[in-house]
C-alpha cells in the first residue's frame, strides 16, 4: 500500500568507551558522512533528517537536534527528533522510512547516537519523577528479576546466558566497528567476572559506548545503489509499564510487533525464512527470551536453540552476527545499528561477519520496561 523504501547507505563510527577526539556534533557527522559516501551522495541530495537518541539526560543536552542541525546539513530542511527509550534507534529508522513510504520525501538521512562518556547513564536512569520513587539502579537492576523469572519458568541451566556472552563477543572480533573485542573470549572468562545483578555477571552485560550510526533511505525512484536493502515490513508497539498482569518476561507488545512485521513481509516461519537477525540483547539472557518472544522458538524452548549453537554465526539462524548490543552499546544508536546491520547483511556488505547468501534479515529494538518495540524486515529482493 505504501511506497517502497530501501537502504542505500550505512555509516558507523568505531564504538569505544570515550571518543575524546570529537564533539557530539563531530561524532554524528562522522557517521552521516560515511552513510552519504556509501550511498554516493552529498548533503544536497538529502530531503530531510531524522535523529534519535535515548534520554537527553545522558549528555545533558536538551533536544540536541537544535544544536546538531548544522553538523547534519539539516539547515533549510525538515528535521525530526525521535525518542522512544531504548528502542529509539529502531524507531528513528522507522520514522525515516515512514517519510518515504508516505510519499513525502525521496531521500532521508537517519542518524542516532549516544556519547555515554559525557555523563553516567546508569545514574541518569536512576532519577525518578516525584511520587514514583524507585530503588532500582540502572537498567540491569530493572531487568535482572525478569531474567530470573525466565529461568524459573523455562528451567534453563545457568550457563545459557554465558554462552550468549561468549558467542556475541566472538562475532565482535569479526566486526571492525565493535567496541568490546576480547581475544580468546570463553566461558571461563565470563564465569570469572563479578556478579552485578544476579544472574547477570559483568561480561553478561553490554558496555557503555560512544558512537553514532546513520543510514540513507531512498524511494524506489532515487536509488544510487545496485544492492539496496528493501524494507519489507515495519512496526512499532508500546504497552503501559504499570499495567497489572502484563507479562514482562514475554511481552505482548513484542509478539504483536513481530507478528505485524512478519505479516507484511510474508513470513510464516521466522526460523526458516529469516536468514539473520540483529536483535537488541543488552543482557545475555535476552537472547533466549527474545527467541521465544519473536517466534523463533516456542515458549520455554528458546534456551535450547541458543545451547544448540543455532544462533551462532555458523548456525542455521545467526543472531547478532555483528556482536550485537553486548559488544557495542551507544544506547540511542544501538537500535539503529541493529537495523543497519540487518541492511548490510542483505546487501552482502557485512564483511567478515557476513552470513552467506542472506536475503532476509530482521532488525529489532526494545526499550523502557520491555514495553517499547520497533522492528523491521529488510530483504535483497524488491517487494
Amino acid at each position: 500500500m505504501s511506497n517502497p523504501c530501501a537502504v542505500i547507505g550505512v555509516g558507523q563510527t568505531r564504538y569505544t568507551t570515550k571518543r575524546r577526539d570529537v564533539s557530539i556534533a563531530g561524532l554524528v557527522r562522522e557517521a552521516a558522512l560515511r552513510a552519504l559516501q556509501d550511498a554516493g551522495l552529498t548533503w544536497q541530495d538529502i530531503d530531510a533528517v531524522v535523529i534519535g537518541k535515548a534520554p537527553d539526560l545522558f549528555e545533558g543536552v536538551m533536544m540536541p537536534e537544535a544544536y546538531l542541525a548544522d553538523a547534519l546539513g539539516a539547515a533549510g530542511k525538515p528535521m525530526m527528533r525521535v525518542h522512544t527509550a531504548g528502542s529509539v534507534g529502531g524507531s528513528t529508522a522507522l520514522v525515516g522510512a515512514s517519510l518515504i513510504q508516505g510519499g513525502v520525501h525521496d531521500r532521508v538521512l537517519v542518524v542516532a547516537f549516544e556519547k555515554q562518556s559525557e555523563s553516567n547513564a546508569t545514574w541518569a536512569l536512576s532519577t525518578h519523577q516525584p511520587f514514583s520513587a524507585s530503588l532500582v539502579v540502572g537498567a540491569g537492576g530493572y531487568f535482572a528479576p525478569h531474567i530470573r523469572e525466565y529461568i524459573r519458568r523455562s528451567g534453563a541451566p545457568e550457563h545459557i546466558g554465558h554462552l550468549v556472552a561468549v558467542k556475541d563477543r566472538q562475532n565482535a572480533l569479526k566486526n571492525p566497528y565493535a567496541h568490546l573485542r576480547i581475544p580468546g573470549i570463553n566461558l571461563k572468562m565470563v564465569e570469572s567476572t563479578p556478579m552485578l545483578w544476579e544472574p547477570i555477571r559483568y561480561l553478561d552485560t553490554c558496555p557503555s559506548s560512544d558512537g553514532a550510526c546513520a543510514m540513507v533511505l531512498s524511494s524506489a525512484g532515487k536509488l544510487t545503489d545496485s544492492t539496496p536493502a528493501w524494507v519489507l515490513g515495519t512496526a512499532m508497539r508500546s504497552e503501559p509499564i504499570f499495567r497489572a498482569g502484563r507479562d514482562t518476561v514475554n511481552p505482548q507488545g513484542g509478539k504483536d510487533c513481530a507478528a505485524d512485521v512478519y505479516r507484511q513481509a510474508g513470513i510464516t516461519d521466522p526460523r526458516r525464512e529469516i536468514d539473520v537477525a540483529e536483535v537488541y540483547v543488552p543482557f545475555s539472557w535476552y537472547e533466549p527470551m527474545w527467541l521465544e518472544n519473536l517466534g523463533f522458538a516456542t515458549e520455554g524452548e528458546g534456551w535450547k536453540l541458543t545451547e544448540s549453537g543455532a544462533t551462532a554465526l555458523d548456525g542455521d539462524i545467526p543472531w547478532n552476527a555483528s556482536g550485537g548490543v553486548l559488544s557495542s552499546n551507544p544506547i540511542g544508536a544501538s537500535g539503529l545499528i541493529r537495523f543497519a546491520e540487518a541492511a548490510l547483511q542483505v546487501r552482502g556488505m557485512a564483511g567478515e561477519h557476513q552470513v552467506d547468501g542472506a536475503r532476509r534479515a530482521l532488525g529489532h529494538a526494545y526499550g523502557g520496561g520491555a514495553q517499547f518495540f520497533a522492528m523491521w524486515m529488510v530483504g535483497s529482493d524488491r517487494p
Partner: protein
C-alpha cells in the same frame, strides 16, 4: 497526498502553578474528551511530544502510556519535541494508507523547574551553553534585532491577554503594566507565562473524517524547516524557515482568516506575521496565544488545535497553525487547514 483532517481537539484548563497532578493525570482528561468527541477508543497510530528536562527525569513519556491505557499494545511513537511535530509524524503515517485514524498529544509542566535556565540546555553544549545566556536573553537579542516599537509590542500583549481572559482554557492575566525591563528590550509581560497543561488531537483520513464530524478541518498543507543553530548565522529579524515552510504548505494560495502563532515573546509575533505574509485582515491568536498560556511541549499542538477549532465550529473556512522549536525561532512548522 491523502486527505487528512483534524476531527477533534481538547486541552486542559491550563494552570500557572503546579496543581499537584502528575503528567499522566494531566493528559487523561483531554484524551477522554477527544475519545468522547469521536467515539473512537482505539487509533491506527498514536504519537506524542514531551520533554524529559521539564520533568527532571528520563522517560517522561512512559507514564503517559498508563493514562492512555495502551492495552492491547498500540502502534505508537514519541518525539522529544513540541507535540505539533508528533502531529506531523502522525500525518505522515496516515499517508501510508493502511490506517485511518491517529491520536496525538503533548504535555508539559514547566512550573516544576526554572524554564529559562532549562531552555539554556538546548544550546550547543561546548560553545554556547557555557556563555550562560538564558532563553530570555537570547529572545532579547532577537527582539533588539527586530527593532519593534514598544507601543506595538504592548498592543500585542494587551490583545493576547484580553483574548486569553475570554478563553476559559488560558490564564487570566491582567492588562500589561510596568516599565521595568526583564532583559532589554523585553519587559516581563513580553514573555509567555509559566504554564502547566496538556492537549490532544485526533486526525482522521477521508471518509472516516467525514463520518466522525460535520466539518473536518482538512490539512491542505503541512511543512516544517530548521535553520542553523548559531544566531550569528541567521538574520534574527527574519524567520527564513517559517517563510520556507509557509511556501511549502501553500499559505499564500488563499485567504487566512485565523492564524494561531507559537510566539512565546511578543516580538516573535511580528517576525512570524511577516514571514507568513499574513494580510491585515487575519486574526492572530484569538485564543490569546502562548502569551496567555504556554504549556511547553503542548503549546504548538494547541496552535494547530485552536486553528482547527474555528473550522470545526464553522467560524472560519481557512486557518493556519504554527509551531516553533529551538532558540529564537530556529525550527518552524506551518499547517494550513480548510473546511
Amino acid at each position: 497526498m491523502r486527505e487528512i483532517a483534524v476531527v477533534a481537539f481538547a486541552q486542559t484548563r491550563h494552570s500557572a502553578v503546579d496543581e499537584g497532578q502528575s503528567e499522566s493525570e494531566l493528559i487523561l482528561p483531554p484524551l477522554d474528551e477527544v475519545r468522547a468527541a469521536t467515539g473512537l477508543r482505539t487509533f491506527g497510530f498514536t504519537c506524542s511530544g514531551s520533554c524529559d528536562y521539564l520533568a527532571g527525569a528520563p522517560f517522561s513519556f512512559v507514564s503517559a502510556l498508563d493514562a492512555l491505557g495502551a492495552w492491547p499494545p498500540i502502534s505508537e511513537s514519541h518525539v522529544e519535541m513540541d507535540a505539533a511535530w508528533a502531529l506531523y509524524e502522525a500525518w505522515v503515517r496516515l499517508q501510508h494508507g493502511d490506517v485511518d485514524s491517529a491520536l496525538v498529544y503533548g504535555f508539559g509542566k514547566s512550573s516544576q523547574g526554572d524554564l529559562r535556565e532549562i531552555m539554556t540546555l538546548q544550546l550547543d553544549p561546548y560553545y554556547l551553553a557555557p556563555l550562560g545566556l538564558d532563553q530570555v536573553s537570547f529572545a532579547a537579542l532577537q527582539a533588539s534585532a527586530t527593532g519593534a516599537e514598544r507601543a506595538e509590542l504592548d498592543e500585542i500583549v494587551r490583545r493576547s491577554r484580553a483574548d486569553g481572559r475570554a478563553n476559559p482554557y488560558a490564564l487570566d492575566l491582567p492588562e500589561p503594566a510596568g516599565e521595568g525591563a526583564e532583559v532589554e528590550p523585553l519587559r516581563p509581560y513580553d514573555i509567555a507565562p509559566i504554564t502547566d497543561g496538556a492537549a490532544a488531537v485526533v486526525l482522521a483520513a477521508g471518509d472516516l473524517a467525514r463520518e466522525l464530524c460535520e466539518r473536518p478541518a482538512w490539512i491542505t498543507g503541512i511543512a516544517h524547516r530548521i535553520e542553523p543553530h548559531y544566531l550569528g548565522m541567521r538574520d534574527l529579524a527574519r524567520s527564513a524557515s517559517t517563510a520556507d515552510a509557509a511556501r511549502a504548505a501553500g499559505v499564500g494560495k488563499g485567504d487566512v482568516e485565523v492564524a494561531e502563532l507559537h510566539a512565546q515573546f511578543s516580538h516573535e509575533e511580528i517576525i512570524l506575521r511577516r514571514a507568513l505574509e499574513l494580510p491585515e485582515g487575519t486574526r492572530v491568536n484569538p485564543s490569546g496565544g502562548p502569551l496567555a498560556a504556554n504549556p511547553v511541549m503542548a503549546t504548538g499542538l494547541i496552535r494547530i488545535g485552536e486553528a482547527a477549532r474555528h473550522i470545526l465550529d464553522g467560524t472560519a473556512s481557512r486557518t493556519l497553525g504554527h509551531a516553533t522549536s529551538g532558540p529564537c525561532l530556529q525550527h518552524n512548522l506551518v499547517t494550513v487547514m480548510e473546511a
